[in-house]
Symmetry: D2
Subunit: 314 residues, 4 copies
């Protein structure tokens, strides 16, 4: 059995060394080290990897990391929400979000046309420019087809995007489908509505995408999940994997607690009662802010995998 070991600073310590030592510190640092190890295992087992995240993570600088992970072959299927799609496109179009303050004076921000997401600011102008970008893209899509499964539509948008740091860009070029079961829940929904007003035969087919996510893996595939945050993104990936026999590897990273029975806070243990996570799977829950825990766990995993030649270098 592993022992707790005194942690010490060594000059020039790498992230990989730190996370290795986390396994001997205690509490969530131990769980984080386990999560990193589970990511290594799922990749080495050639698992089909489902990566899910909420839109605020795309508001944050994790957006570029998600794109890099797709390029490195660390994600085979994505599930997210409408806000993530919008903000990925905004950033691909050159928008810069600002580092702000959790305790800003919100009415003052409003008067300046600044919208706050925690300690990140987005301006009204940035949203207005998204509006201008969406219409030509939707028109082009409509020229091809009238009825679109969501993931197919997002793939086409990804092919129109011209930014290698974009999630949509990399996903489209690496055959990684992006599922977004609540595609209308954002300004994207508003743009789709405006477009449908003029083109009533334009249809976004969410049911067809249920078929697509079901077919994204089979009972025979080894399946792994990296779920960041909670909500629909987490649930949808788990549901698809449940219907295909359950997950072999699962990493949940969240701040939500299990005590209120929510999906966001549901643990990998609860998932076993459903068969969502197989009873002999490697499964770990890390409690903490994903902006901190995910880069740590994933950077360590990438260092290990690249040293073993499983992923190429950055």
């Amino acid at each position: 059995m592993a022992t707790v070991k005194d942690f010490n600073w060594d000059k020039g310590m790498t992230v990989s060394e730190l996370v290795a030592r986390f396994g001997h510190i205690g509490f969530q640092s131990i769980e984080l080290a386990k999560a990193s190890e589970t990511i290594v295992k799922m990749k080495k087992a050639s698992a089909k990897i489902y990566l899910t995240f909420t839109s605020n993570m795309v508001t944050s600088g994790l957006r570029g990391f998600f794109a890099q992970l797709i390029a490195l072959g660390m994600a085979d299927v994505l599930v997210t929400t409408a806000g993530a799609i919008e903000e990925d496109i905004m950033k691909a179009n050159g928008e810069k979000f600002l580092v702000g303050d959790f305790s800003a004076h919100d009415v003052a921000l409003y008067e300046k046309g600044v919208n706050r997401v925690g300690n990140i600011y987005i301006t009204n102008e940035q949203y207005a420019r998204l509006e201008n970008a969406m219409l030509p893209m939707l028109s082009k899509l409509y020229g091809k087809e009238k009825r679109w499964a969501v993931s197919v539509l997002l793939r086409e948008i990804g092919l129109m995007v011209n930014d290698p740091c974009s999630i949509l860009y990399q996903a489209a070029r690496h055959e990684v489908p992006i599922f977004c079961p609540a595609i209308t829940d954002g300004s994207l929904g508003f743009h789709l509505f405006l477009f449908q007003q003029k083109h009533p035969d334009f249809v976004v087919d969410v049911v067809a995408d249920f078929r697509n996510i079901l077919l994204s893996s089979s009972h025979d595939d080894v399946k792994g999940l990296i779920s960041l945050g909670g909500s629909i993104s987490k649930h949808h990936a788990i549901l698809a994997c449940l219907l295909n026999g359950g997950l072999d590897y699962a990493v949940y990273m969240t701040t939500a607690r299990h005590t209120s029975g929510s999906m966001s806070g549901a643990t990998t243990s609860e998932a076993k009662s459903w068969g969502k996570v197989k009873d002999d799977s490697d499964a770990v829950t890390v409690i903490g802010d994903v902006s901190i825990t995910f880069p740590l766990a994933m950077v360590r995993a990438l260092e290990v995998l690249s040293s073993e030649g499983v992923v190429k270098n950055a």
Copy 2:
């Protein structure tokens, strides 16, 4: 300015008296008393009331309370997730969920065919019976139309349900639309998929429902929100109200924290930066488990409103 007052037990104390005294205890009890008062105000101002909740609350016994609130005129628009729809139908069909244990042995539950949601148990048989119930309903709907906006489809289902304690039943009978932007994210999605496999022209039109929720209130309406839990349900109602000029009254009840920039934890203050909540609105956030905080705040509000003749008695 109000003062903190020593709380004392009086024999036979009513819920309404307790919540009134909460306003003088401290911390979240004060916020809960404010939330209750805000609900009273929004109703007396004839606000259009948006009530949002996550599916685990329908797993719980709050389900019957939501149905009662619709019947009492305390909710004009609902927003929720697929699981809530499924479980409301299951309960309408007579299924009883069991009170269980947060720390159950989950693998043992799995082997018995029991699925755990926090401390509530649902069996595999109960889900199987839902499957049998869905097909005839979908067939009937398909006989009427091929293309359905989600809220219209849910209204039709509600008319087929025969249980006054059902949310769908009461909503259908009181012209209260139920919006469910991620309708496929549940076993409902699976049933819709199976149906579409046989009937490829069957379409669930989520974009049309964006129009419907936009039209569910106008700029001129006074608008109030009671948001229970976070996720898409919360965001979707706020988004619709933002596009119609923002909320005049807002009550958020959640366990999520604001420190990670998630929608679930976003405060009414953050909402003001967006114009989601008007800067002079009555807005309050109560931190705590909704299974406790919501009955308290709402029962007190109902007692006040019924004593003033604004709502009829239970």
Copy 3:
């Protein structure tokens, strides 16, 4: 096995009825109902009841409730922190604390001489008047003895206090010892220090009080704990009971989570590994703000106990 039941509002519903129904709603409402039942059981088993709370609960209106519970025989031993002692005395001297705002402008408050504890305000003047009250009390005590065990000193102070809503007042009159292992951690510490500067032979003997809390129950006593919040108060009571063979009944009410290995978040399950809580005990943890959960659980318990003649009416 109990089932989940639809909750409904009935006009005039009492707190006791609500908490009874909580047992069938779900999530923390179920745990709260169990906590209430556990309090009933410990009292009916004539357990020695340890009640622990942090100082912010005495800042709040729960202070008068704690005093009432002592008078009703619902607490046999108290453990708390220095701030709780100070603020109980301040309130006994007529100080009124104000209901304020969590999101107040703190620098502006500072300039007005207002100190914020969450959403409660205390003024500098109120602290200054405490200073004036402490010196004569300490002088009187010093006239009797030079060396004081903390709980004995607090009993003497309680006898000088003249307010039936005071914890110190009721505890002194009902032979309920108050333990305060960190007696110097507050302005009380400062007053003791000033006094000792003039009277170097004045000693507060914390080791003697360890003996006193050990002797506050025996191995043979049935022992129950109601722990509100975390910290030293919780730990100290548990430690004393562990040394006397462990608890037969335990109710923990807290907002802290178990995931960081802290005492504040430690569960009754973890306590079993230590023998702090006996393995066949009735033990329950309720997650939520104590200003809401404790009055609910305790009022229900009091109603049941008074209806059975175990406690006298309020």
Copy 4:
């Protein structure tokens, strides 16, 4: 104003580089980067640095890091709880704690004599050996003096300890006082009690230590606080600094939330209303598990400070 930047993995990335990029990711990663910068600033301003932590952090591998920080001159005053003292001595005597499991079967652990602290295990034998170690140390102290201020007693114990990874060892050798206002709240309290039974004139003087912590800095000193976790340790350091004019720099790292009015969750903003933190101070609160957040923030600070020659290399 800083902008959000896409994060990317670079092979061999150091902890210092990661934390620098955290400043551009979002949410708590930004606050963590600020905390690290604030630690750099307080050290470069020659602030008197107060470091506070709860006992579970000494259960964890952070214990050796605290000792190293004292040796490096990064902490001038410590405040902690009794458990931290005990476990530092146990580890100095060679005890190894085990890495365990949050969801262990606690009754089974109890039967094996294993005590669980989150996911760390300590055995009954390890506690028994502490008992044997304490008596000779207390006897030796008693030979010198009958009445001991806590910090003076802990310094003497530190001089008897022979392990450079020990907090007590390094503190004693670097003139860093350790304050422990609740010294009896642990098995240490039990040993002190046993000793006092035989030697009634043995006194632990907590009031004298209030004087000592007051004199640990002056109004003129620049003062900085690094508070890990909450509870008495946090409060006591803040109180001492308040009485000396308030803090110039403050870093709070905790998992507690501010919404219940507890000291553990109290923010640096609330502290400003009291004058605990000066209104123009550098103050930052990082929400997350300290076993992860503290090594990150501090390692980055040490790298910066050592590159500038302010601290010596590890």
